[in-house]
């Protein structure tokens, strides 16, 4: 495991933060950490990189307990409220951070990364004169300077234009292809849906769902059918295979956990001699899932 936490809690005088989070992230994964504003995402990431001291619980990065210097050795971090020393030029800033990592001859790496985030040609400008988006781009360079095994990106596209967002998505995919692990804080669900393998949803500081993105979404394939000439046994049987089953005057509406159940159910209907007029399926998007889960959590 690249990252592992056990009942990790960080609260501020008994309030806010996050509570009893137990997570593990495998190597090579793009892990999406989702949640509404104030849910505790940034607090979690800041705790991971040693900026905040946990209230209780344990956590390891690459096997090293968090808060130690060793745990931060192969880590990259783009903070949510990124700010860099504005009296330096881009080049100076990157040399400074490379030196903090004790990287020898960082010149080539810096050039490579500047190219990657499309900042080439701006490196001799003062950071003061960078736009917000350019600062976030250089923040991404800083997060990747040391060839980290795991990168924590806290809303890495918050200041980026649409093209920039696509570029960041490409960078994340590239990192994944190099076997790196990416921990992505975001509320841009469509973005997360496109790049993440696994997600956790946090609300009011607690994890309310976690798992492989596909599996979480699969649970929520919604099916609607219109049938006639059915028997009550048939309807009974379908209801047993599905969730949230509703039936009214030939109209069926239900959810299945596995898409493969859809053709099975269709076959059952035909073989039972009933007529199938209409079959609509709709895989719920991450957005539906998110709204659904948060909604449920708020009720309880």
């Amino acid at each position: 495991m690249v990252l592992e936490t056990q009942n990790l809690t960080k609260q501020f005088n008994g309030k806010g933060g996050f509570k009893e989070v137990t997570l593990s992230v495998e190597k090579g994964q793009v892990f999406g950490f989702l949640g509404p504003n104030g849910a505790g995402k940034s607090t979690f990431v800041k705790t991971m990189v040693g900026l905040l001291h946990p209230t209780s619980g344990f956590a390891w990065i690459l096997g090293k307990p968090i808060g130690t210097v060793e745990s931060r050795e192969k880590v990259g971090f783009l903070p949510e409220n990124f700010r860099y020393h504005d009296w330096m030029t881009g080049k100076e800033l990157l040399s400074f951070h490379a030196e903090l990592y004790k990287i020898k001859n960082p010149g080539k790496k810096i050039d490579e990364l500047l190219e990657l985030v499309k900042l080439k040609g701006h490196e001799s400008k003062l950071i003061k004169n960078y736009s917000k988006g350019m600062q976030q781009r250089i923040g991404i360079v800083i997060a990747l300077l040391n060839d980290p095994e795991i990168v924590f990106l806290d809303e890495p596209t918050s200041a980026l234009d649409p093209v920039g967002r696509i570029e960041v998505r490409e960078i994340i995919k590239q990192l994944k292809s190099q076997g790196k692990t990416v921990f992505l804080n975001s509320h841009l669900l469509s973005e997360v849906e496109m790049v993440c393998d696994e997600v956790a949803i946090i609300n009011h500081g607690r994890i309310i769902a976690e798992g492989k993105l596909e599996e979480l979404l699969k649970e929520h394939t919604h099916v609607e059918m219109i049938v006639s000439d059915y028997t009550s046994e048939l309807i009974e049987e379908i209801s047993r295979l599905s969730k949230e089953f509703q039936f009214k005057e030939g109209k069926l509406s239900f959810k299945v956990e596995d898409k493969e159940k859809i053709p099975i159910i269709a076959k059952m209907i035909i073989e039972a001699g009933a007529k199938l007029y209409q079959l609509n399926t709709q895989t719920s998007s991450l957005e539906d899932l998110f709204i659904n889960l948060i909604g449920k959590d708020e009720v309880s």
Binding site: F82, W87, L100, Y101
Partner: protein, 286 residues
């Protein structure tokens, strides 16, 4: 840590405060040089002349010391707190470095710059006096010892500021530092008056209240010993070389000599402040 030291030094040279104080210092030195040239225009050999000249030197050093303290405050008050308040700290401390490295690195980087600056001020003032034909005889060893204590004061002040900046906000650090410096200054004056009262022996009453003033002075020196160090500096520079008594240095000189215990205290004062500042900083949530 070397990286922090290096970039702290670099940052300082680029700060506007540094430019401002440099201009201020140049202005001050020019005015002082002008004043000296007028004063030394008509040399005479009376004993009053030497007394007067040593007072001129003391005054020159006093204000130079004041300007250095001003620079220390301006450049260091936000050394750590500024990084937190601006958010630049996130990308630094998420790196594989220990928090005390930042505190110590800032202290050493700023300290190096301050020693250079403070030495220039000291040597300029003393140099101007020699150049203009002061009758005080300086030996190299006295100048060196004087220089050491002239630089030590700002470094001790820096330690207080860095420690405070690691624990409190920039604004609060500013308040704490100015208060401490002011108290040390007033306390130093009280101690001088106390010593003068004791020396002049204005009856038993004078002796007693003189003593209580000295005690008050010592107490304030414990809060921030910059004034004690300053007095040590004037003593090292003037007394032993020319045989001029403390009396001749006027209000800017030193009456009472700090004891050796004071210097042991000063050493632990700096070490403790840096240790405590770094420790509290390490425990902070950022």
């Amino acid at each position: 840590m070397i990286t922090i030291i290096k970039y702290t030094f670099k940052e300082m040279l680029k700060k506007r405060a540094f430019l401002l104080v440099s201009i201020l210092s140049l202005l001050y030195l020019s005015i002082y040089a002008f004043g000296l040239s007028r004063i030394f225009e008509h040399p005479s050999n009376s004993i009053y002349d030497i007394i007067f000249q040593s007072q001129i030197l003391s005054a020159g050093l006093f204000f130079a010391n004041f300007i250095v303290a001003f620079l220390v405050l301006l450049t260091s008050v936000n050394a750590i707190s500024g990084e937190i308040e601006s958010g630049t700290i996130y990308s630094i401390l998420s790196k594989p470095i220990k928090r005390y490295e930042l505190v110590l690195g800032k202290f050493i980087g700023l300290g190096a710059m301050i020693v250079i600056y403070s030495s220039i001020m000291f040597l300029s003032v003393v140099g101007l006096n020699i150049f203009m034909g002061s009758k005080i005889t300086f030996e190299a060893s006295n100048i060196l010892r004087g220089l050491f204590f002239f630089d030590l004061g700002p470094i001790v002040f820096l330690a207080l500021i860095i420690a405070s900046s690691s624990i409190f906000s920039t604004v609060n650090t500013g308040i704490i530092s100015i208060m401490a410096y002011g108290i040390a200054l007033v306390g130093g004056v009280l101690e001088q008056i106390g010593a003068a009262m004791q020396q002049s022996q204005v009856g038993a009453f004078g002796l007693k209240s003189g003593e209580s003033l000295i005690n008050a002075g010592i107490l304030t020196s414990l809060i921030l010993p910059t004034d004690v160090i300053y007095r040590k500096m004037t003593a090292e520079l003037l007394t032993q070389s020319s045989g001029i008594s403390f009396m001749t240095q006027g209000p800017f000189g030193g009456m009472s000599q700090p004891s050796i215990y004071m210097f042991i205290y000063i050493f632990f004062y700096v070490v403790f402040l840096l240790y405590y500042g770094a420790k509290r900083f390490s425990q902070r949530d950022l």
